[in-house]
Amino acid sequence: MQDTVDLDYARAWVHAQAPILWLLGKTQSGKTSIVAEITNQARDQVGRGYRPVTQESRLYAFPADQPVLRFLDTRGLADSADEAASGEIAQAREQANVLLVVVRVDDLGVQDIIDVVAESRRRHKDLPIIVAQTALHLGYGEHDGHVDPYPFDGSDADRHRRGVPVSLGDTMLAQRRLFDGIRGAPPLFVPLDFTRPEQGIAPADYGAERLWDVLAQTLPDVAARLRRSPASPNNIRTKVMLPWAVAAAGANAVPLPVAGGLASASAQSAMVVQIAHRLGCAGDWKTLWRELAGALGAGFLAGFGGSWAAQQVLKLGLGWGTAVVASWTFAITWAIGEVALYYFSERAAGHPPDTEALRARYREALGEARGKYKEAKLRMARMASRESAP
């Protein structure tokens, strides 16, 4: 472990006063995604769902030169029966300021982890414990998606939140019950789902705000320094627009411009609502969409509808171009997202939106989207073939 860390880094680690966040969880439970989310860094380490990626515990100081927060990522528990991680765990227990337990929400075989948590509390009865219940989408049915706005608060009422599948609520609570026997204050539970944009589950940082709130309770200084606004344009692009565009392209969910509006279940309307909410504009999908459509103008919408109809005819009549339609759907969704981002940002800032600028933005985004789509497709392909050398 120490060989891979250079000497300066080690010294900085030892002398740093920054608190240590101990990540405890099985391989692929989502530890690395949480680190990536907290530090706003690349997710290259975020591997696929079935092969151990993290082979040994890693130290991670952030930022590296003057750490504000230090992560201690113990090797995935229960990855392989041959490996014992007890030494690392004893070390981690002595150092940690906060224990962040990461469990997939559908995983009830977590006795090994509970044992470690219980033992840690026996030795340090004040150690704050956060339990991140990850990968909520594993409990979704065919037509389910993330419930917006985020409904969970860590209490037992999470079992019956509106829109959340019953079985998911049951599993979530069953998993929490497993932590009942632990001494001291009950852990703080945070259901979340940090996905890669290519997975097409929007928003890709579902539950991040709640995680930051909980971190603010346990590590107020750290949260104050590291927390970013979820409304930054880049954040909205990667966490909201990209997943929605990927999902729409995958499902071939072309928006239906009927009577100046979209169907409520469509990917695009949901995206617009999420963007508006992030930028602080309240309202349900009808008001928000009508507002955006009005700003774009009726003529624009007619042109949009015609283009959509042409695509449908091509698709049905010639039988070609499912890939073309997917690419087109991606571009449309992305462009609508850009328009919404621009429009609601301007509105939130109190500027009157300019129709011409909006349309220009739309056309520009449509052009950019081709490149984005290629990139996303490449990532999807890499997602499948990436070799996570163990």
Binding site: R51, A78, D79, H137, L138, E198, I201, M383
Partner: protein, 532 residues
């Protein structure tokens, strides 16, 4: 040898004389023609050509003859152990192979060497089944031995009659007489007959004809000797494996008078298949998908471990099965877990695990425990298993589910993920890829790729049948032994009564003879003799 041949010779002399006369009558014209031809050629001055031609042809024939009987390596046909064979069987076959490869013609100098060869094979097998056991050779029961001897004889008989039906009409006395003819003609004749008989498959059968073989072996070529030795060891070894693995134990029940019908070698009853896996792995969903809504418990027919339930199942590729559903494998239950106890009584384990998970430690521990069920006893086969990977639909990209998917060849991201996930799970859990099945069961949709599961089961069926036979043949429990002991009591008591009766009868007659006259003695003797 001579003493026994002489009476036979006398017996057949007249018939042989007539036969010789017939031969002379048939051959006379040709012999006369031959002489006349040679004489004619001599008159024409061609005799030299004839002589030279004759010598050349004979030399050629001699060369061919030598070529025909050049020593060749014996053919080795010892089959490999079937997949899933017990460690003991694999060791036994290795030892037999070594022995077969070492066999040379000298090992079969005469018929007395035959028992040594077979005994060697038996020692190999017995040692493999009971290592470090001084009395390994005697680890069987008398009925098993009788069955084995019967089996061996029948094998020889069948080979002989199937290969040479004409033998049914040849009295052995004739064979013995002819083979025993002295001089070079007799030698050639016996060699010819032995070569006809000693077809590789029936060499041992010929061997069993004792007297014929004892005379023939000395005149056999080296290749034939070695081949016979190999056959003896191979077949002897096969029979020894069957004996020491308990193959005759089950059939020993046929010898009981109460056994209604012979037990066939292939089991007809359905295989017992255990479904097990971690909690939340998708076991119940799979069971529902296999059985449909109407579950038919068969608990009375198939006694299960506490907490487990058995269901009847039938499908075209797999045939009839009994599916046993045991509670999920928890983290803390040890070797006494219901599923493990049930596994020991199952012919196949379907181990169910989620394809989209990376934490395999619990599965690895459970499968190691499953190996330990049979690992303690070298005679037991490993319980065959199939890795059923569920939740294929939740592999990346998670929200996409648009079957059909081509797991073998497809290029879509999901298809590539399916391949990689299957491969990774099989590797981590030590299951051969052909014994892994990836499935998906979604509410309100037909299950995906159950055919793949059926195919995997089909591939493992032969192994499971072996396991089922093994379980059926397993050493009987105390109850059965007590029952057999009780069943033996009447016969034993009859014998004792008989013995006592006879002894008493003799004593009584002796006393009567002493006390009374000759008549009383005779009567007493009659009584004693008539008792059996």
């Amino acid at each position: 040898m001579i003493s026994s041949r002489d009476p036979l010779w006398r017996e057949h002399r007249r018939a042989l004389g007539t036969l010789a006369l017939i031969g002379v009558l048939v051959a006379a014209p040709w012999l006369v023609g031959l002489g006349a031809g040679i004489w004619l050629m001599a008159q024409q001055g061609w005799a030299w050509y004839w002589w030279i031609g004759t010598v050349v042809l004979l030399a050629l024939a001699f060369v061919l003859w030598r070529r025909l009987f050049r020593p060749v390596a014996p053919v080795n046909r010892l089959p490999d152990a079937a997949p899933g064979a017990s460690a003991a069987e694999q060791r036994a076959r290795q030892a037999l192979r070594r022995r077969v490869e070492a066999i040379r013609a000298e090992d079969l100098r005469d018929v007395n060497a035959v028992p040594d060869l077979i005994l060697g094979a038996f020692r190999d097998v017995a040692g493999a089944y009971s290592p470090d056991d001084p009395v390994a050779l005697w680890r069987f029961t008398l009925p098993e031995l009788l069955l084995m001897a019967g089996d061996f004889t029948q094998w020889g008989r069948d080979r002989l009659l199937v290969d040479y039906p004409v033998l049914r009409h040849i009295e052995l006395s004739w064979v013995v007489s002819l083979v025993g003819l002295g001089g070079p003609i007799g030698k050639l004749l016996s060699l010819y007959r032995v070569l006809r008989w000693v077809h590789p498959s029936s060499a041992l059968a010929a061997e069993l004809r004792g007297r014929v073989a004892s005379q023939a072996i000395s005149s056999l070529g080296d290749s034939a000797k070695a081949q016979i030795g190999v056959l003896l060891v191979e077949h002897g070894g096969e029979i020894a494996i069957k004996l020491y693995s308990g193959g005759y134990r089950r059939r020993a029940d046929e010898l009981l008078a109460t056994a209604p019908t012979p037990v066939p070698d292939t089991a007809a009853e359905p295989l017992t298949v255990l479904l097990a896996g971690q909690r939340n792995a998708g076991k119940s969903a799979l069971l529902n998908a296999l059985l449909g809504k109407a579950r038919e418990p068969v608990g009375l027919l198939t006694p299960t471990t506490e907490g487990c339930r058995a269901y009847e199942f039938h499908s075209e590729p797999t045939g009839a099965l009994v599916l046993v559903d045991c509670p999920g494998v928890g983290g803390t239950d040890g070797a006494k877990a219901p599923w493990l106890a049930q596994a020991a009584r199952s012919d196949l384990v379907l181990w169910i695990a989620a394809a989209n998970r990376a934490d395999r430690a619990a599965d690895q521990r459970a499968l190691a425990a499953l190996d330990a069920v049979t690992g303690r006893d070298v005679q037991l086969r490993r319980i065959p298993r199939i890795l059923v990977l569920t939740h294929a639909d939740r592999l990346d990209p998670p929200m996409e589910w648009a079957p059909p998917y081509d797991v073998e060849q497809g290029q879509r991201p999901k298809e590539e993920q399916m391949r990689e996930a299957t491969q990774a799970a099989c590797e981590q859990l030590g299951v051969a890829p052909e014994h892994c099945a990836l499935i998906a069961i979604r509410a309100g949709e037909p299950p995906w790729n159950l055919e793949g599961l059926y195919q995997a089961i089909e591939r493992v069926l032969p192994e499971s049948r072996h396991k089922q036979l093994e379980r059926a043949m397993a050493r009987d429990g105390w109850l059965k032994r007590a029952k057999d002991a009780a069943a033996s009591i009447p016969a034993a008591s009859d014998t004792v009564r008989d013995f006592v009766g006879r002894t008493l009868g003799h004593t009584a007659s002796g006393i009567a003879r002493k006390l009374g006259g000759k008549d009383g003695g005779k009567d007493g003797g009659k009584d004693g003799g008539g008792a059996p």
